[in-house]
Structures are given as structure tokens and as C-alpha cells.
């Protein structure tokens, strides 16, 4: 409090009380004489001074007592409102809202309906029913009287109060609105608005205590409704984001497959080519030996030749199948779950995939780790395989670029992979001696669609972005990049150890 306000308040207090208490003291002194009057007047002065404080204290206690229940649930609702914004999963959010409402306010049931623009309906998103047996509706039409009424009135509707209104409302028969509310078994209907349209409707049942909803309740629901609106928008936005991100991931994968097409078609073509030769030679053997009856010696020889050919046919078919399997392993969405994963196995799988895109023979790949001592990581195999694939591929491109640009006579492109345990994590380092990254590009390396790769055909600009998303967001790990231009790049990954 301002010191001047404090002084002035004290001065006013003294002035008023000197006057109010001074008058009886002066009268007693003047007309009653010393003695008898002093005690009652003194007590009166004391009580008069204390009176207002006692009054305020008792009033607060009484109010607290009376409104205790309401305050308790209002506090819960406020807390819940504040926490809602953090929930990114729409379904979870809706479940939490109805759960909190039924338990905090002690009502028979609560449900929430979410707007579906395309289907022009509000679909039941979550329901919590503690008591009562009435059936719920799974959807409310956009054209129902209730929605039209809420759009116009923009306020909460309390059924008890609503029933008392009898006149018609802007062409809508209130009776129909009343029927709609009653079919929802709703005691209180709260529309959730965003920019003039109702994105959701909360329906609450009767209080289990039988009490009616008060004005105080409504003001709390006002806050709740605003928070709910933001939280729902937030969750919906996040879901859209996730979808966009998935599409982005997929685009990146598809682009990679595009660059692998050349290698893949070469390999598959080679299988067909070999099959053609094997079959051609076998047919030739048959044709050459058809004309005359064969000695048992010769027929044994022919049979052996044909057997050899058919064995090779099978072998080539198996190889072809493996190529297709490898591709499918990479393209399909992959298992969504996390498991204890062997880093070396992922590395091998990734290396297998890179064969289709790059000539790994041109690299010296050094695995500086002891398979026996590395703990397993808690990871999604397919996702980490994609990360490793991208890192090997990036290293290769960087080294080939250096090789082509510098033409250093003794240059040996070398990729070193180190894996070790550190600080309760598994640290994985891919180190190449390629072109490296210029300082001015360093800050942009993880930006989507940014690429330093020479031909725009080669890079989507999504590789590192996707790597960071996979490692940091999906796995709770960390990605770090250290690079020196014309010396090389180190990509450091840190992934959590699998427990058990």
C-alpha cells in the first residue's frame, strides 16, 4: 500500500472514531459525572472498534462454509482448465474434460460433442456417466433447433431456467429446443465457440445433490469453455500437424526410393538376365541331346547339368525376392512399437539398403565397436534404420563430392562408426572425411528443404530434419552435428538404453 494512502487512512480512522466515540465520552463526562458511566462507555468504545472486524470474519467463515463445496470444484475446474492446453491427443483431452466435470461437480453424467464440418453433425467425442440410465445420442445435427438456438443466443443454457421461458424465439419454437435438450438428458448445455462457430458442445446432467446450477457455476463454466475451446483447437492442430509430418516423412522416403530406383532396377534386371541365361543354356542342352537316344552315361550327365541349372534358378529367385523384401522393409510404415534393439543389427540392415543407392565398395567402412559390450537401445527398428541409412548416404555423398572436387591422389573415403555407452545412453557416431559443411550453412542444416548437395535430384533437404524428429521427438534422444569444411563431418546420436 502507498504510504500516503496508509497515513491518510489512519488519519481518517482516528478522526472518525475520535468524533464517534468522543461524543458519548463528552456527554457522559458532562451530564453523568465521574465513575458509573466510564465502564459501559469504555466497553462500548472497545466493541465498536472491534465490531467491523468481527463482522467481516464471521461473514467470511459463513460464506466459506456455505460455498465450500462449490469453491472446491471450481478450483478443480480452474486447475483442469489450465492443464488442458498441454494435452495434445484430442481423444484423451475429451475424456479428461468429461471425467473432471462429472467428478468435480458431482453430476450424473457429462458428454462432449465435436463438430464435423463435412458431415454437418456434432459427434459424441466422450461421455462419462456415473448414474442414471438414460440413453445418450451419438450425434446432434447442425440443423437441430438446439444448435440454431445456441448459435444465436451464444450463452450457456440451463434447462430449469429455460423451461420457464414460454415465448417463441426468432422463429424457433422453444418447445423444440426444450425437446432437444431433454433428449440429451441435459441440465446444462455449454456451447464452445471459436470465431463465431460452435466447435463443440458440452452436455452436463443433473447434480447428484439435486441442487440447481447457480450463477457462480456459470461464471466458472465460462472460463472452462474458453479454455476448452483453445485446448480442442490446439489438439486438432496438433493432429493435423502430425498428419502433415507423416506425409513429409513419407515424401522423404519416396524421394529416397526414387534415387534408389536405378540401383534396384539394375539388381532386379540382373536376376532376370541370369535366369534367362540359365534357362537358355538348359534348353540348349535338351535340344542338343533330343535327337538321339542317350547312353546311360550321357543321360546322367545331362540330368546333372539340368539339375545344376534348376538349382541356380531357385537361387536367383530367392535373391530377387530378397531385393523386393529389402525394399518393402524400407517403404512400409514399420512397426509402431518400441523394443530393445541391437545397434549392430540396425546398422547392418541400413547398410544393406544403401547398396541400392550407393557404391559402398568405394568407401572404407570401419566399425569401431565391440558388439558384445554395447547395450541394446530402446528404439523403433525401422525408424532408426532410416536414420542410419540417411547418415551413411550423407557421408557417402560428402566424400564423393570431396573426391570429385579435390582429386587428392591419396584420398581414401572413410566412414568410421563408433558406438559406446555414456551417461546412461548409447552414443553412436558416424564420422566421414568428406567435404564437410561451411560455417555459414551450419545453422540451416536441420531446416526442412535445405540442401547443400550438388544436384537437387540427390537431396530432398529433408534427411536431417527427419533424423532429428525421429531421434529427439520419437526416441527422446539427441542429435548433434560437428563439421569442418573440407575435413569431414561427425554426426553424434544419443539414444536411450533399453531397460531389462
Amino acid at each position: 500500500m502507498d504510504i500516503r494512502v496508509a497515513i491518510s487512512n489512519t488519519a481518517i480512522f482516528i478522526a472518525v472514531y475520535s468524533f464517534v466515540l468522543g461524543i458519548p465520552v463528552w456527554i457522559g463526562f458532562k451530564f453523568l459525572g465521574k465513575g458509573a458511566w466510564l465502564l459501559p462507555i469504555g466497553l462500548m468504545a472497545l466493541f465498536a472498534t472491534l465490531g467491523p472486524f468481527i463482522y467481516l470474519y464471521v461473514q467470511k467463515q459463513a460464506e466459506d462454509k456455505l460455498l465450500q463445496e462449490q469453491r472446491r470444484y471450481q478450483a478443480t475446474l480452474r486447475q483442469a482448465s489450465a492443464g488442458m492446453g498441454k494435452i495434445k491427443d484430442l481423444k484423451k483431452l475429451l475424456n479428461m474434460i468429461v471425467y473432471v466435470l462429472t467428478h468435480a461437480i458431482q453430476i450424473e453424467h457429462a458428454s462432449i460433442y465435436i463438430h464435423d464440418k463435412e458431415k454437418k453433425q456434432y459427434f459424441l467425442g466422450a461421455i462419462k456417466r456415473k448414474s442414471g440410465h438414460k440413453q445418450f445420442l451419438d450425434k446432434i445435427s447442425e440443423n437441430s433447433s438446439l444448435i440454431r438456438y445456441l448459435l444465436d443466443d451464444k450463452n450457456l443454457v440451463i434447462y430449469e431456467e429455460f423451461k420457464q421461458k414460454s415465448q417463441d424465439f426468432k422463429g424457433l419454437t422453444l418447445g423444440q429446443v426444450e425437446e432437444d435438450i431433454s433428449s440429451l438428458d441435459g441440465e446444462l448445455i455449454a456451447p464452445i465457440f471459436i470465431e463465431g462457430s460452435i466447435i463443440a458442445i458440452i452436455v452436463m446432467g443433473k447434480k447428484e445433490s439435486g441442487k440447481i446450477y447457480t450463477q457462480d457455476d456459470i461464471s466458472v463454466f465460462g472460463i472452462l469453455a474458453n479454455q476448452t475451446a483453445l485446448a480442442i483447437e490446439n489438439a486438432k492442430f496438433y493432429e493435423d500437424m502430425k498428419l502433415t509430418q507423416e506425409q513429409l516423412f513419407k515424401a522423404e522416403k519416396m524421394a529416397t526410393i526414387g534415387t534408389m530406383a536405378d540401383g534396384l532396377s539394375h539388381q532386379i534386371n540382373n536376376r532376370f538376365h541370369a535366369l534367362g541365361f540359365i534357362a537358355g543354356d538348359a534348353l540348349d542342352t535338351i535340344h542338343l541331346n533330343q535327337k538321339e537316344a542317350l547312353s546311360s552315361e550321357k543321360s546322367k550327365e545331362v540330368m546333372a547339368e539340368l539339375e545344376r541349372a534348376l538349382v541356380r534358378v531357385q537361387e536367383n529367385v530367392t535373391q530377387g525376392g530378397e531385393i523386393v523384401q529389402g525394399l518393402l522393409k524400407y517403404t512400409r510404415k514399420g512397426e509402431t512399437g518400441f523394443a530393445a534393439v541391437d545397434v549392430d543389427a540396425v546398422f547392418k540392415a541400413a547398410l544393406e539398403m544403401t547398396q541400392f543407392k550407393i557404391k559402398t565398395q568405394q568407401l572404407k567402412i570401419i566399425r569401431e565397436y565391440d558388439v558384445a559390450t554395447i547395450p541394446k537401445i530402446k528404439a523403433n527398428f525401422t525408424q532408426v534404420q532410416e536414420v542410419f541409412f540417411n547418415l551413411i548416404d550423407n557421408g557417402y555423398d560428402a566424400m564423393m563430392q570431396r573426391k570429385d572436387e579435390r582429386r587428392e591422389p591419396d584420398y581414401q573415403p572413410t566412414l568410421i562408426v563408433r558406438v559406446f555407452k555414456e551417461d546412461g545412453y548409447v552414443e553412436i557416431i558416424f564420422e566421414d572425411n568428406g567435404v564437410g559443411v561451411k560455417d555459414e550453412d551450419m545453422s540451416k542444416m536441420f531446416t526442412p528443404f535445405f540442401t547443400t548437395k550438388l544436384s537437387s535430384k540427390k537431396g530432398t533437404g529433408l534427411g536431417l530434419y527427419v533424423i532429428r524428429k525421429i531421434i529427439e521427438e520419437n526416441h527422446g534422444g539427441r542429435v548433434e552435428m560437428v563439421s569442418k569444411y573440407m575435413h569431414g563431418t561427425q554426426m553424434k546420436l544419443r539414444l536411450p538404453i533399453a531397460i531389462g
Partner: protein, 119 residues
Amino acid sequence: MAKLLIVDDESDIREFARNFFKKRKIDVFVASGGRQALEIISQEKPDLVLLDVRMEEITGIEVLRQLRQANLNVKVVMVSGVEDEETIKEANALGVLGYIHKPFILEELEKIVLAQLNS
């Protein structure tokens, strides 16, 4: 006897092509890579070389270039899978008899080989 060299890094191609041409009284040599091919060519002087374009060690085009540098005027038929226009042009510039695209069947190859060996 006419000498034929087959250069391919696929062992099945080498094995079965050799089987096939042996039955036609042709002396068949095989090489799994460019270096081996260059060695055989300089030693054996084959009448015809079937040269795969895409190989791990050194490419068919590179083998061809080194052959021409060493003035070895051996007849070469290139065998290719999914190569682009540029590779074909380069091969033509270095003087090849022709270009066969994979996959093809042995009978086709036989016609080409016999035609070249008899000419």
C-alpha cells in the same frame, strides 16, 4: 578355334554363357572384372569381347578406354542394363560393334556372336 571373352561380375552369367558357347566349339574365357579382362585380352587376343557396362571394380566404359589407349583393337559388344544415353554415346565414340540391353536370351546373343566371329 574362335576365342570369346565374357566379362561380367555375375557368376551365373559367366558360368552359363561359357557352357552355352563351349557347346558351339568356341574357346570361351571369362572375367569377373575389368582388370582381369584387360589381362586376358592382352594375353589371349580374343576375337570378340562381351563387356558388361556396370561392374563393381572398374566400369566397362573404363575398360574400353584403357583398351583403346593400349591400342588393342579387339571387337567389343557392350552389354548394358539401365544405362543412360551418355554412356551409350561414350561407348560408341570409343568404337564398339554394338550394344545389347539386358535382359536378353541366349539365342539372341548366339546370333550376334556367331555373326561377329564368322565375319
